[in-house]
Symmetry: C2
Subunit: 224 residues, 2 copies
């Protein structure tokens, strides 16, 4: 079952560096548009330029940075439009997961999903936004897995990760947490009932709202 993952267990240095850089970009250490310097990063990680370059390639492929020939690599400036587009696709992917999960999820799966939902609610009630954020991620990844489609799971996870920073900021909007919670409950209900259409629609809206909220956040931000 996990034979696909096993070979990746032993990762090379460059892969580790790519992971680190990705985290640093997503958490904001490198601002959008900033240039990533091979030499200084090599020095910082105590490696030569080669692993850094390999890491850059990974990041470029995942879309986090852009490489300009003979110029260097820059943290991609995702325009609000692009981000909204990604949220729109995320909504469709999650809807697809829901549609399939409604047909394929076993009783054990649903119990697991319900448990995740409960833990989300607990975190919400405790006012622990970090914990909610974590549990919410688990909830959604469970859903991806329950689509029974490994490729879909992988793609959904990829985009989910990509949208991480933008999803987080809108958690702080007043009332969003409770609303999101209620949506989770409805989603679990639909899947549990085997209602594929309903599950898909609920999930599409659930994520689409995140895009809208992001729009709100953007409009409140000082314009650059």
């Amino acid at each position: 079952m996990k034979s696909d993952i096993d070979p990746l267990e032993q990762r090379s240095r460059s892969d580790q560096i790519a992971q680190t850089l990705e985290d640093q970009i997503l958490t904001g250490r490198f601002a959008p548009g900033a240039r990533l310097d091979e030499a200084s990063l090599a020095e910082e990680h105590n490696v030569s330029r080669t692993p850094i370059r390999e890491a850059f390639h990974r990041l470029a492929q995942s879309g986090l940075v852009v490489q300009q020939p003979r110029r260097g690599v820059f943290v991609r400036v995702s325009s609000p439009v692009e981000i909204l587009e990604m949220f729109e696709v995320m909504a469709e992917l999650e809807a697809a997961c829901g549609r399939l999960a409604a047909r394929r999820a076993t009783d054990a799966d649903i119990a697991e999903l319900r448990q995740a939902e409960i833990e989300c609610r607990a975190a919400c009630d405790a006012g622990d936004i970090d914990l909610y954020y974590l549990k919410n991620g688990i909830f959604h990844h469970l859903l991806y897995a329950q689509s029974g489609n490994g490729y879909l799971e992988q793609e959904a996870s990829r985009l989910h990760r990509r949208l991480k920073p933008y999803r987080r900021m809108q958690l702080f909007l007043r009332g969003r947490l409770q609303q999101s919670m209620d949506e989770h409950a409805a989603i679990v209900g639909a899947i549990s009932a085997g209602d594929a259409t309903q599950a898909a629609a609920l999930l599409r809206d659930h994520v689409a709202v995140q895009g809208e909220k992001f729009h709100h956040v953007m409009s409140h931000l000082p314009k650059t």
Copy 2:
């Protein structure tokens, strides 16, 4: 407008090699499971191992090959299950394109789509499978663009390309061409009518059928 693309115009040698290798894999020069040897490929392209390695990274990220640390890179063996999964995702992505296009396509867009459909039919009537294959690709890419979502367009195109070899083989199944043609007409009709739900459903089925047909083809093949 095309400032995003401009820098890529001047591509490095490694990018060209990656492109070449990708084509060669998709067209079957390298069989699934075959090992890609850095040294011999470097010699063949008259470059050192470095650009080859960079090309490998690109291919690995796009999922065409897998890199096993200290083992080498291998053309990914996509199991029938994986391919069916990809068709399922493709169906959802195209459905999403249709849903959005039904709301966003302009009259000019629809005229363009209808024109593409006519050219498909012409190729079909002429019995020119290669031409049909080409026109069919144009039809679908138009649809992706008309979703009005650049990210969705990009992702759909990526997966479309990935499934290229598997889609082609099922074109030869008896009766599939005519059936596919009728589906196209219905899809254009739904989008033209602005019926998002119908367009999405038609497209999902249209692509899902391809997955099923692939399944048929597989079952007729001598088992490896």
